[in-house]
């Protein structure tokens, strides 16, 4: 028995804020507004509780969810997963947190989105689902925190941003380094001119690779255990194999991953470079692959180098060794260079810089680059205030498009030019076709 089991559903923002709107005329029966929330003037005060649902909560999702549930103004009410095992795990985890049995579980996320009492959703599926999940959530009136990469093609990233604008939803991409002090500090040095005139930005990326093969077919389990059709979602069909789902071995596949793995880190590191360059509304105009690196250039002449190697303190790569960059500043390093100085930082919070006088503004922080606490808090605040969080749709759109364009250049093995206004490659039809893929029916954006 659960000692603290509550018989009454938790009062949240949505239950008394949204009943009139989402009812959309006579579609839904009006809900009962608890008397205690009625303001003195007869108006309804916005409550402080945000009702949250989650879709595809796995290892990273659990970290983000934990940071949200640690906030007192959040109530996690519903969880969706195509795997029975994960549904049970997340329900167990959240019920234990709240000391009740209230977390509802769903196999089909559309049923979760149809719940009128949810304010916001956390989307932490594999990459293939992020964009469509975000878009359908917004169309259902939910605010969205989506793990990165937020779309596996340029077209989907555009569609996410367009939909968020069109439906006026609060959107936060899971690129939390925008809310981690040492990255903020490095970007501040670049933006404020402390480094002189910026000339080169460096973003760390994975060793690029793209896999087109299929794992051997296995008999499909019952939908209740693993819903393979729903797992695939908008991605192209292929036969079932347990490893994709249970072991999460979908990374690196063209159909499931983003940009030959480039976005795994690039969505973070290129994003910080965009920020440092004051380029949140644009993207580089040229991309040239060279081995494992991609050299890009902005219209203002600033260079952007995407590379897995060459970071301060990074041991020389041995053959077949690690496929990602870890230097003395930790994982996901970035480096900004101007004609009067440079700064390099990464996930462990270390800041390397020159000249040393720049350090006087720095106060050491212990937050790690992977910690989403500040980022999720900002999202929650914006859900209430309707403000724009740091990694909003516009910011995500441009940093993700820059990554995709670089990945496309690498996959094509040739230099490509890009028009940031039209968001299209110049004189390269093949590259342009790579901007989007048809979604598997019946899914559409």
């Amino acid at each position: 028995m659960h000692a603290k089991s509550s018989s009454q559903p938790a009062a949240t923002r949505r239950t008394f804020l949204r009943q009139s709107l989402w009812a959309g005329g006579a579609i839904l029966a009006p809900m009962i507004v608890p008397a205690r929330v009625l303001g003195r003037g007869g108006g309804v005060a916005p409550s402080n509780r945000i009702a949250l649902g989650g879709i595809g909560i796995g290892p990273r999702g659990k970290q983000v969810l934990a940071s949200m549930m640690a906030e007192k103004d959040v109530q996690y009410l519903a969880t969706c997963d195509v795997q029975a095992r994960m549904r049970a795990e997340i329900k167990g985890l959240t019920d234990e947190h709240y000391g009740n049995r209230d977390c509802a579980t769903y196999r089909d996320f559309r049923e979760l989105l149809a719940r009128p009492d949810l304010d916001a959703v956390l989307i932490a599926t594999g990459d293939r689902w992020h964009a469509l999940g975000s878009i359908l959530a917004a169309k259902a009136g939910k605010d969205v925190y989506s793990e990165k990469p937020c779309g596996i093609t340029i077209g989907l990233c555009q569609a996410v941003d367009d939909t968020m604008r069109r439906t006026a939803r609060v959107f936060q991409a899971g690129t939390q380094r925008r809310n981690v002090p040492n990255f903020e500090f490095a970007a501040h040095l670049a933006r404020s001119g402390r480094l002189g005139r910026l000339h080169t930005l460096h973003a760390s990326i994975y060793k690029l690779e793209c896999n087109y093969s299929w794992l051997p077919a296995e008999p499909e389990p019952p939908k209740e255990e693993i819903d393979w059709d729903m797992w695939l979602g908008p991605a192209p069909w292929r036969p079932f194999n347990r490893a994709y789902v249970v072991d999460r071995r979908w990374r690196g596949y063209y159909d499931f991953d983003s940009g030959a793995k480039l976005l795994d880190w690039g969505a973070h590191t290129v994003d910080i470079c965009q920020w440092a360059n004051g380029a949140d509304d644009t993207v580089p105009v040229e991309y040239e692959p060279d081995g494992g690196r991609v050299y890009a250039k902005y219209a203002n002449g600033v260079n952007l180098v995407l590379r897995p190697d060459g970071w301060i303190g990074q041991p020389p790569a041995a053959a077949g060794a690690a496929n990602f960059a870890v230097g003395s500043t930790g994982t996901c390093p970035v480096r900004f260079e101007g004609d009067e100085g440079w700064v390099e930082t990464g996930d462990n919070g270390t800041v390397e810089l020159h000249p040393a006088s720049l350090r006087q503004e720095w106060r050491a922080f212990t937050m790690r680059g992977t910690d989403p606490a500040k980022h999720t808090r900002e999202f929650l605040d914006c859900v209430k205030s309707r403000g724009r969080p740091a990694a909003n749709g516009n910011v995500m759109r441009h940093s993700h498009i820059a990554c995709h364009a670089a990945a496309i250049a690498w996959m094509l093995g040739r230099k490509v030019r890009f028009d940031p206004a039209r968001e299209a490659f110049i004189d390269d039809a093949e590259a342009n076709r790579m901007r989007s893929r048809a979604l598997r029916e019946p899914w559409q954006v």
Binding site: R18, G42, A45, R166, P236, W237, R238, R363, G387
Partner: protein, 870 residues
């Protein structure tokens, strides 16, 4: 329909411009693959490539696949991408023969292609009973966006199920948004208003309202205000969001005026908007709200002043922290006091400080620290010697943050004058953090050194050596500072001399070793200090001996002298244990006399075999032989006796430790190969990781790891000073490792473990980093992350392990590493499963056996087998 008439010819549809990529050669080859490849995966891949390079030649093959359960979407993708009109025609024709999901797919593709010629067919589908088909058709029409398309969408706004109306609204709004962004606000406003009038589901009504507001002008602003006045939360939220997007110079005054008419919670929400708009015209009203009234409003206003406030806002913020005040109000005011950007604010806060009572004073001191207010330094220095200790401590905390190196002399006088221990510690810390702000590393200690040299008062001089040592430990040692401290050993005042010994005993490198030994020899030195000095010297010499530090120090000389000075049992034990880690033959000579010392002879014997293990060739030297023989025959400890005997024959030693070069290793191996006589060697199982004879395939300290009767043994019941590992020489990724272990121990942290996917670390060289299947000290069956995240990744149930594990006896461990998963089994039962969440964690690495430091324990391993997985 009037609204539609003027829309004709607006050129809504962007012309499809770019050139096609006609690669007939590639297309033909790919089509052949699609038609005849035996593997479905190859056909799918060919279709995906057609989507990038295909020409109209592929159309017949692609059309035939539309509706195919597996490949239908692949074929449609290729048609959707192809700019040739033949692709569009093929998709339109397919509309008639398809149904259900494949039909929806083709409808969506026609929308993506913005196929004007499909409008008629899509209009018919929009009337279908199947909501999902009708909805898809309406959305596609919205993408096409011609006047004809709008003519179909418009009536659908008020017809059918909510799903269909939502799709119609979505399509309609797509057109409206595109028009607005293209710079035609008046025209788009008509479309938005049409949606607003319809019975469309909530999100779309909100979207239409937002669009209409963003069309701008007085009408846009008025519409926004209307939403605020409506009293409906949904409409108000739309207004709040849109207010942040709207570019309208008159919006801020209008919102300020609106504040008065809103309920408290909504006033707070509007103030958050005003903060985001960063407009000084909002400040007076917000200052007014910050003075009092409903708490939710007051808190929001106080918070807003953190961004919008100026020096004139400070009195309002100060008033909010005066008692009586609520915690929420005070917290908001304090946070904003720390943030107000106006430099004049510092002056106002400092002034308030002098008149405030104790509680408020403490809070304001914290604010000055947070503001990094250099103007407040004189005042903070004064407060740091306040009679109220809490005030003094708060001031010192703030000073640690704000003081620049120029203020070091004042901090130093504060530190030396301090009586209270906490105040002393805080002052020391403030000195260290301030000294570290000096840009040139070689000058960081200067201020403290100068003060020390100038100072006459012995107590003050002694006190200054505390922060000086701390600076050295933080920034790294400097020779010139060392000489200053060394000279202090000759100071006429006893308390200065003693403080210098303390300072040098903690020195971060081996420079003071000889100095410390000399100091320890002075008869006047109190016993406790002598032990500190000896401990420091032995630590330093040990570091040099173990290669943790490069130094010209004469290690053997240092140990010789330390041995002469050691009086108590603890001191002699220090020297003996230190010698055990010295990889020099001379250490044996130094150890010899301790074999006759009843209090430490067991440890001395262990140290002898540890040292000797590094020099297998030395057993031919008579002196070494005599020592080992003596231990082998009459040693005080059974294990040590055996190891001495083994040392005489030259068996069981591990391969050379990392970084020790090849020579000793070869010697070790040669010695090991010479005695392949143990019974276990005859029956080495397939997949065995250990050959049952010697440690030639392994890498570890031969003084710690050896083979005893076909079993790998590590550590000693007489003591293990630090962690030691015996590692494989190659990496393993996916595998099942099975082994048996036995851990026995008496004192300290009796523990060991098995590393997987691990690496040796450079410094200190004895450590490893990576996953550890833990053994002992209550952690058997658990997965620890050694030297990396330094925490348990998964802890086994205590009750389960208590039931499974046979303490002090042989236990079977099974470690399975596969992909991101690590699974441990103890005596047949699973104890933990861990799935790696961090993609940056290495997925392969060495396997290694561990004995933990700081314990008296011995660990043994046998029957190690490894089955590699794909």
């Amino acid at each position: 329909m009037k609204l539609l008439t003027w829309m004709a010819g607006l050129g809504l549809v962007a012309a499809a411009g770019a050139a096609v990529s006609p690669d007939s050669g590639k297309t033909r080859a790919l089509v052949r693959t699609v038609q005849s490849a035996p593997e479905l995966a190859d056909r799918a891949r060919a279709l995906q490539q057609l989507a990038l390079v295909g020409t109209a030649e592929a159309v017949p093959t692609l059309v035939a696949l539309l509706g195919d359960e597996g490949l239908g979407q692949y074929a449609r993708d290729a048609l959707e991408q192809m700019e040739d009109p033949a692709a569009g025609a093929a998709l339109r024709t397919a509309l008639d023969r398809l149904a259900g999901k494949p039909l929806i797919g083709v409808v969506a593709s026609l929308g993506v292609r913005r196929d004007r010629e499909a409008v008629g067919a899509l209009a018919r589908l929009a009337e279908q009973k199947d909501d999902s088909v009708a909805g898809a058709a309406l959305r596609a029409l919205g993408r096409i966006g011609t006047v004809e398309a709008l003519r179909v969408l418009e009536p659908a706004l008020g017809r059918g199920t909510p799903e269909v109306r939502a799709a119609a609204a979505e399509g309609f709004l797509r057109v409206a948004d595109e028009l607005r962004i293209a710079g035609q606000p008046a025209e788009s406003r008509v479309l938005y208003d049409r949606v607003r009038q319809g019975e469309v589901p909530g999100p779309w009504r909100a979207a239409a309202t937002r669009g209409a507001i963003l069309c701008g002008g007085v009408e846009g602003r008025q519409l926004l205000l209307e939403q605020l006045r409506s009293g409906r939360p949904d409409l108000r939220e739309t207004a709040l969001g849109t207010a942040r997007e709207l570019r309208d110079d008159q919006l801020v005054p209008a919102l300020v005026a609106e504040l008065e008419h809103l309920e408290p919670a909504w006033q707070a929400a509007v103030m958050a908007v005003l903060v985001d708009l960063r407009d000084d015209r909002a400040r007076p009203a917000i200052e007014q709200k910050a003075r009092g009234g409903a708490e939710v409003v007051r808190v929001a206003a106080l918070r807003a002043l953190g961004t919008l406030g100026r020096a004139q806002s400070i009195p309002v913020l100060l008033q909010a922290i005066q008692p009586p005040t609520s915690e929420a109000v005070a917290a908001a005011a304090l946070a904003s006091l720390a943030r107000v950007g106006d430099p004049e604010a510092d002056v106002a806060i400092s002034r308030a400080l002098s008149t405030a009572d104790a509680t408020v004073r403490m809070r304001l001191i914290g604010v000055l620290g947070d503001r990094k207010s250099t103007a407040a330094i004189p005042q903070l220095l004064q407060l740091a010697s306040d009679r109220d200790l809490e005030v003094a401590k708060a001031a010192l905390r703030a000073l640690g943050v704000v003081t620049s190196p120029a203020g070091l002399p004042q901090l130093i006088s504060l530190a030396t004058a301090a009586k209270d221990d906490d105040v002393k510690a805080l002052a020391d810390r403030a000195i260290v953090t301030t000294a570290m702000k000096v840009l040139e590393p070689e000058r960081r200690a200067d201020a403290v050194v100068e003060a020390f040299l100038r100072e006459k008062n012995p107590a003050t001089k002694a006190a200054l050596l505390r922060p000086l040592g701390a600076i050295m430990r933080t920034m790294g040692p400097r020779h010139e500072v060392f000489f200053v401290v060394q000279a202090a050993l000759q100071d006429p005042a006893r308390e200065v001399r003693e403080a210098a010994v303390r300072c040098l005993a903690e020195w971060p490198d081996a420079t003071p070793t000889v100095t410390l030994l000399t100091a320890a020899a002075r008869p006047e030195l109190p016993a406790a200090l002598r032990e500190s000095a000896l401990r420091g010297a032995v630590r330093m010499a040990g570091n040099v001996a173990a290669g943790r530090e490069r130094s010209p120090l004469d290690v053997i000389g240092a140990f010789t002298q330390a041995g002469r000075l050691a009086r108590t049992r603890d001191e002699r034990m220090l020297v003996v244990a230190g010698l055990g880690g010295v990889r020099r033959l001379e250490a044996l000579t130094l150890l010899q006399p301790y074999l006759d010392d009843p209090e430490v002879k067991a440890e001395a014997a262990l140290a002898v075999v540890q040292v000797a293990a590094h020099f297998p060739g030395a057993r031919s030297q008579p002196a070494v032989r005599a020592l080992l023989e003596r231990i082998a025959t009459s040693g005080p400890d059974e294990d040590v006796k055996q190891r001495a005997a083994q040392g005489l024959q030259g068996g069981g030693a591990a391969g050379t430790p990392k970084g020790k070069g090849g020579k000793a290793g070869k010697a070790g191996k040669a010695g090991a190969a010479a005695v392949a006589t143990t019974p276990a060697a005859a029956t080495v199982a397939a997949g065995a990781l250990f050959n049952g004879r010697d440690l030639g395939d392994w890498d570890g300290d031969p003084g710690v790891w050896r083979v005893r009767q076909g079993v790998i043994v590590g550590g000693s019941l007489l003591g293990n000073p630090r962690n030691e590992f015996l590692a494989t020489k190659r990496s393993y990724r996916n595998f099942v490792l099975r082994l048996e272990y036995r851990l026995v121990g008496s004192e300290g942290f009796v523990n060991g473990g098995v590393q997987v996917r691990s690496v040796r670390v450079a410094q200190p060289p004895n450590e490893m980093s990576g996953y550890q299947a833990d053994i002992g000290a209550g952690h058997s069956g658990s997965l620890y992350d050694e030297s990396r995240r330094k925490k348990f990744l998964a802890h086994a149930s205590e009750e389960l392990v208590r039931r499974l594990e046979k303490a002090g006896d042989w236990n079977v461990y099974e470690i399975r590493c596969e992909g991101p998963k690590v699974e441990l089994r103890l005596n047949g039962e699973r104890t933990v499963t861990y799935t790696e969440e961090d993609p940056t964690v290495a997925a392969d690495g060495l396997i290694a056996l561990q004995i933990h430091g700081n314990c008296k324990a011995e660990i043994a391993f046998r029957n190690l087998t490894l089955e590699e997985l794909p």
